[in-house]
Symmetry: C2
């Protein structure tokens, strides 16, 4: 189904320098939107420590036979996303040819400086790479759903009866999806402990993270025309890291009966580079066994899990002052998610709802079962009962002002070149 | 606060013909987006049986001193919405002057045919008038929340403990907001009766309506900067009718713990004309007493309820064949909603979440306490127990294929000129 296995060949090397351990070798070629002091937001592809400016590549006519140049000259990815898999893979193949040693020398010969920008250069900024029409957040980790059930509803069955039948989800707020590095202001809201007579309004005291992956959709469907699970690959462009910041005290008081609202809608951070399904192909694996068997519209005929390793790093103000590096507080994998991307998209459109180019569908918190593999503080610290100990003697139950959280993700297995997602980081600013 | 009381003066008459009972006298001047066979979508204002083409008005320079002409020449209202109340009211005042008898004769003298289009003309189509970034649906009727609690959770307290403290809401799907007249395809989804062992997938058998009003926002706020309730008037442009179509069987099985998703996301119908707060000013009244007193961030210093009368009409295929007119199955008022528009906007942004120009915030189902004043079939028929009898002997518990539902809304009181919202109608198409 996914062509161009050649673009993921571990032996490929680029003439652009790629240091060992870099997230962006030529096998990756993730898409994003960047700006510089001189250049307005435009589409780019990360390669080593550089960004390849696709606006200029299109201007030079280097992709004309695989893609309308306007699609690569937009300030957001939406028109390119709307073009579909044949165009996505065609551009990827072309860029791989232009960037590889012993490939097409046109770009290199044309003067690479015209096309390449330093990723870490002064004034280089990354932007949310697409206009996000709707943002859906799933709840697809069995371990996370079980843990949250135990914490929020201690006297009931941890897993709801619908959970093994439905990839449960809700709509989040697309206006507050922010790019890696955007400060996250501690939200104010209504909090009420079960023992309080009345709620009070103030800064959240239980500010948390949620480690997630999200997929970005391509062409989309017409109103009333579901996307079958078997066609999901034509509609999913790629994946990003997602931090679904959560205010647990606001969430606990507000969420019945209509679900999370202000406990989530204050900020959602995504990583700037969309790693394509094409690049992830060497890391596609069988997912967990599903019992009971999913209903027909949720059945998939091929593996849809991805072996993506994930980590959460935390650095406090005091650690920063002491020049201590961030501490890794969780390590887990995306591979074991119960509901997969194809099932999520088929479910979200099963009623005829429209997915548009650039929509974001996040996985829900990714948690494993072993200690230290959970994707949220409320699970890692079990609702505050077991604080995390940091290297400088500090402890954390929830986030304090000044804390900086970084999500990282990467794929690595024998025989394939390591590729990465970069990072989604954010630092907590105090409430106004 | 709202200037230009002159524009709502009941004595004003337009030189454009307005038949008695018309929703759109010169006191109304609602904004929408229309197209004709010759003209691409553009902004218009309804007056009598005509649409005033604001693209042409701006082209002729007739609003230049109150509004940048580009704002009125866009294919959607978003740029105009972003401009804020001073511009909105300035344009309204100018249009009122241009359209009234004994007003500014410029438009009339310039040849009204150039500026006016027949609302019911062949090829005239209305469009969703703005790009909707985020769609929020509240749950602000005390009677509706109580009724649904009784139906969905018969063994628990009907009203959740948070309900009188929080204007409860969730995010809906903006991609499936459709304009008046769009057919609504019966959604398919997972259904499971409590007595069934496993769910099955198929067309919804409990398709319902929700009679709501929605408000459209203007300038909006920055990330992390809540809109105080006292400033809501600067951010709310106007109101539309909203039918939040609901598949009760899908909703009942999916909604725990994260709230409604596919039971709602298949379609939401809005009326095409946004009636401005300026036009509604004569119908602004005190809302119901709130007990307990709202927390400080939800307090408002002025009346924020609107006396808007509402009706739901139903016409079945068999009624249509027999040439029977639609039957009115519910009549209610917007006035008694427990949480008001200012409180809803203040709450939705209290955590710093961003409201953008063109966002839609719906009220939640509007239900009264008397029989026949509820805004959904599940309440009117009490979960199917008391079917509605139609004039031709048919009965309804939920919607059948071919049923056409029309929401209507209007304001009428002694001393003011009656204004209306037009209609939000949709007919049920069978599942694919």
């Amino acid at each position: 189904m996914i062509a161009h296995a050649g673009t993921t060949d571990a032996r490929l090397e680029s003439w652009v320098a790629v240091v060992p351990g870099c997230d962006f070798p030529i096998q990756n070629l993730p898409f994003g939107v960047f700006s510089t002091e001189e250049r307005a937001p435009r589409i780019g592809v990360a390669i080593g420590e550089k960004i390849l400016d696709l606006n200029r590549v299109a201007e030079a006519g280097l992709c004309d036979d695989v893609c309308e140049p306007e699609l690569l000259q937009a300030p957001v990815l939406n028109p390119f996303l709307a073009a579909g898999r044949l165009v996505w893979s065609g551009v990827r193949e072309r860029l791989s040819q232009l960037l590889r040693r012993d490939g097409d020398p046109t770009l290199r010969d044309a003067g690479a400086d015209r096309f390449l920008v330093d990723r870490h250069g002064a004034g280089v900024r990354m932007h949310v790479p697409m206009e996000i029409g709707d943002y859906v957040d799933f709840f697809s980790s069995l371990e996370h759903a079980t843990n949250l059930g135990r914490i929020f509803r201690p006297n009931a069955e941890a897993l709801m009866p619908n959970w093994r039948w439905i990839p449960i989800a809700y709509h989040g707020r697309s206006s507050t999806i922010v790019i890696d590095g955007t400060p996250v202001r501690r939200p104010r809201g209504q909090r009420k402990a079960p023992t309080d007579d009345a709620p009070e309004f103030g800064p959240s005291r239980r500010l948390d993270i949620e480690l997630e992956m999200g997929f970005v959709t391509g062409p989309g469907n017409g109103l009333g025309e579901p996307i079958p699970a078997a066609e999901a690959r034509e509609h999913v462009f790629g994946l990003v890291l997602v931090n679904d910041w959560s205010a647990r005290d606001i969430q606990a008081w507000e969420y019945q009966p209509l679900g999370p609202f202000l406990g989530k809608s204050f900020a959602t951070t995504i990583s700037p580079w969309i790693v394509t399904l094409d690049a992830l192909e060497p890391f596609r694996v069988e997912g967990p066994r599903q019992e009971p068997a999913p209903l027909a519209y949720l059945r998939v005929g091929e593996p849809w899990a991805y072996e993506i390793r994930l980590a959460v790093d935390l650095q406090t103000d005091r650690m920063r002052e002491a020049e201590l590096p961030p501490a890794t507080i969780s390590q887990t994998t995306f591979r074991d998610m119960y509901w997969n991307v194809a099932q999520q998209l088929a479910h979200a459109t099963a009623n005829g709802a429209v997915a548009r180019p650039g929509d974001l569908f996040a996985s829900g918190t990714i948690s494993g079962s072993a200690p230290g593999t959970q994707g949220s503080l409320i699970e890692l610290c079990w609702n505050g009962e077991r604080p995390i100990a940091l290297p400088n003697g500090e402890t954390r139950r929830f986030l304090e002002d000044g804390d900086e959280v970084t999500l990282r993700g990467w794929c690595d297995r024998p025989g394939a070149r390591r590729i990465g997602f970069g990072a989604a980081h954010g630092r907590i600013a105090s409430a106004i």
